[in-house]
């Protein structure tokens, strides 16, 4: 019984990591139709920010708390810069954004290698987040890793913040307006280029936050983004492009699937089975789990 509960928690925690990674991408890819291959490198930027802050701030807990907003700003600024320099020239050519941002991602990886060296580095997690919390005591206790609980909380907070921003703020209304009809938004007096840049800033900033979370589970390296970006795209495509709800549900479903299959088979087999399931699902619903009724943006 505890095994099943433990695995359920693991599934949720893998889902939370996926969600954090995919969240920013769901804004830039989902809402703005930009295939940003450099998103993974923004995650890496967030992770390295955590590393740098830890070197300069004593106290692992404090440096982690400082890292969250700083990584958001650093990755966000990188994203806004990328948007301003390159992507704004390519809004009607999504395939070109793929090529251009892929080039940028390779450059950022090399930059990280030059600055931080080729070997991966690690951060020290605060003591509070290295242990576990006992949920059910007894002879066969159920424990949850506290770092995973922290990531789960972070993912929930990020989803809530993003969804409130999109729904309630004037920025959110403007983003939705631009997504639904760029020309009409423009003639209504919305500066679409500024909205684009802000949305890109937010999406990339969320990648930075994901990067901070990832330092709690594994090493930080120049290529960490490439391993992650594919999973994030899968979550978005299966969830339905442009749909926050779909992203959330699919992240948790895929996380749960991965953990259940991994438990009964092996890591590699589980990965293959999840991919097969995704392919089968997309045969059945090519548009993904949720979709806007109209997607004629252009």
């Amino acid at each position: 019984m505890t095994v099943i509960l433990g695995q359920t928690f693991t599934g949720i925690s893998i889902g939370a990591v996926l969600l954090l990674i995919a969240l920013g991408l769901s804004l830039t890819f989902g809402q703005m139709n930009v295939i940003n291959m450099a998103h993974g490198e923004f995650i890496m930027a967030g992770a390295y920010t955590t590393y740098v802050l830890q070197k300069s701030i004593s106290g692992a807990g404090l440096s982690l708390l400082v890292a969250l907003p700083v990584a958001f700003l650093v990755a966000g600024a990188l994203g806004a810069l990328l948007e301003w320099v390159l992507i704004r020239r390519l809004y009607l050519r999504p395939l070109d954004t793929l090529l251009v941002t892929w080039g940028v991602s390779l450059m950022l990886q090399q930059l990280a290698r030059d600055i931080f060296g080729a070997p991966n580095v690690q951060t020290r997690a605060p003591d509070l987040l290295t242990g576990n919390i006992t949920v059910i005591g007894g002879a066969d206790p159920l424990t949850c890793a506290s770092s995973r609980l922290f990531i789960l909380a972070l993912a929930v907070a990020a989803v809530v913040a993003l969804s409130l921003t999109l729904r309630l703020t004037s920025l959110g209304r403007r983003i939705r307006g631009v997504v639904q009809n760029r020309d009409l938004a423009e003639v209504s007096g919305i500066s679409t280029s500024r909205v684009d840049r802000t949305a890109f800033f937010l999406g990339s900033g969320l990648a930075g936050v994901a990067g901070v979370a990832l330092t709690l589970v594994g090493p930080i390296g120049p290529t960490m983004g490439t391993n992650i970006i594919i999973d994030a795209f899968l979550v978005i495509v299966v969830g339905g492009i442009g749909q926050l709800k779909g992203t959330v549900i699919v992240a948790f479903v895929l996380g749960a699937m991965q953990s259940v299959l991994e438990y009964s088979t092996t890591v590699s087999v589980a990965k293959v089975l999840v991919l097969v399931a995704i392919v089968a699902f997309l045969q059945w619903r090519p548009q993904g789990l949720y979709t806007l009724r109209t997607r004629s943006l252009v």
Binding site: Q7, N120, T130, S147, L214, V217, P219, E262
Partner: protein, 408 residues
């Protein structure tokens, strides 16, 4: 656009040609003779100085250089100063093969020292065999291999994995769980471990492989925990260890409740993973920085003086350092740099290495090594808790073990 693409294609083609000519330069079919005409003799250092393996291999290169400097300072080999030619294998196996060929044919080195992963060794093996040139390989490996042109100065399985299992057995651990990276070394090692367990009444409760570089270990940690095994045998390589040990601690598993014995984590790796995750866990090697003995005190002192006080020494570094001295002794006994004569002189060569006295077994071209189990301390160093007492005869094909029949 089209013109640009054409120009790019031409450029790529040209570079490719350039590389090819370089690699094929020099005489091709007959053995390349080492150039020993002057008052120097060249040796090749072939290590990954960039890429994912650089973290480990740069330290090996550094300790090879240290040995060469020491030998030069004391008069060189057969009156000649050693001139190292360092090449970067770039953690890329075809590059290793290409650079090996360059060292032998263009630089005409008398011997080459280096390689780390089994994949890089397998890539250069035919190059050294074809050119009848010598490679000294300094890292523990999965055994079941022999080459007339490779000297293996790291441990083979009966000098590391088998003693580690013996140790676990002597501690009363009756069941183990196997966790490894998904490539040749862990899979071969685990085949050997399973055969050992079967013959010794140990239970293998599970076996999990994660892709190299994988960082998601929560489910594996859950499986290990649920198995209630007595101990874990860890053959993960590289960074995956970071994620694994973080998750291990998060799952509430400790060195006390379920010890992990690792075969690829040395002082350098402990430093980068963080001793807070590793303290109390076990490792199996032939050498630690803390290994007692005058030769080691000298080695550690010399290494730190050259490369910095905070730089630890590790097993592969020690085996690399030792390999240069062994080559020197072989050359002096043979009174020649000719690989065939050096090989013929190799049997019974000894050296007072930092790990203790080592002896070359001419037949297998491996060396006698003492096995050591260590416990990782909070200071990042590893303290020996057990050793085999004497240097163990190398047995790469495990011929001396009944349970191992049918493995290779």
């Amino acid at each position: 656009m089209l013109a640009g693409a054409a120009a790019l294609a031409t450029a790529v083609a040209l570079t490719a040609c350039g590389a090819k000519t370089d690699a094929a330069g020099g005489s091709s079919d007959q053995a390349a003779k080492a150039d020993t005409s002057g008052d120097t003799v060249k040796v090749g250092l072939l290590n990954s100085l960039s890429g994912t393996m650089a973290i480990s291999e740069v330290t090996v290169r550094d300790s090879l250089k240290l040995a060469i400097e020491e030998i030069n300072a004391s008069g060189g080999v057969l009156g000649k100063q050693i001139k190292p030619v360092s090449e970067d294998g770039a953690s890329d196996w075809p590059t290793f093969a290409e650079k090996a060929s360059k060292l032998i044919k263009e630089d005409r080195v008398a011997a080459t020292f280096g390689c780390w992963t089994s994949a890089s060794r397998k890539a250069v093996k035919p190059v050294f065999e074809k050119n009848k040139s010598l490679l000294f390989y300094p890292v523990q490996y999965e055994g079941l291999e022999e080459s007339p042109y490779i000297f293996y100065t790291g441990a083979t399985t009966n000098q590391q994995i088998v003693p580690a299992l013996d140790y676990l057995k002597s501690q009363g651990e009756k069941s183990i769980y196997l966790v490894g990276s998904d490539y040749v070394f862990p899979r071969t090692a685990n085949k050997i471990i399973k055969a050992y367990a079967k013959a010794n009444g140990m239970k293998v409760l599970g076996e999990d492989y994660a892709p190299l570089g994988s960082t998601e270990f929560s489910t594996i940690a859950n499986k290990v925990k649920a198995s209630k095994a007595d101990a874990v045998f860890n053959t993960l390589n590289g960074d995956s260890n970071v994620a694994f040990f973080k998750e291990y601690k998060s799952a509430g598993l400790t060195a006390k409740s379920m010890p992990v014995v690792s075969v690829s984590i040395a002082e350098e790796e402990v430093k980068s993973i963080g001793s807070q995750y590793l303290a109390g866990q076990l490792t199996a090697w032939n050498y630690y920085q803390t290994t007692p003995g005058a030769a080691n005190t000298e080695f550690v002192k010399a290494y730190k003086a050259e490369y910095g006080k905070d730089k630890p020494t590790s097993d592969p570094m020690e085996a690399a350092y030792t390999s240069v001295y062994l080559w020197k002794a072989m050359v002096e006994k043979a009174k020649s740099f000719d690989p065939e004569k050096v090989k013929a002189a190799s049997d019974g060569i000894t050296f007072d290495a930092p790990e203790g006295k080592v002896t070359v077994d001419g037949a297998s071209q491996h060396i006698y090594k003492t096995a050591r189990i260590g416990k990782i301390g909070t200071d990042g160093l590893i303290e020996q808790v057990w050793d085999s007492g004497k240097a163990i005869e190398p047995d790469p094909f495990l011929k001396g073990y009944d349970w191992a029949s049918g493995l290779s």
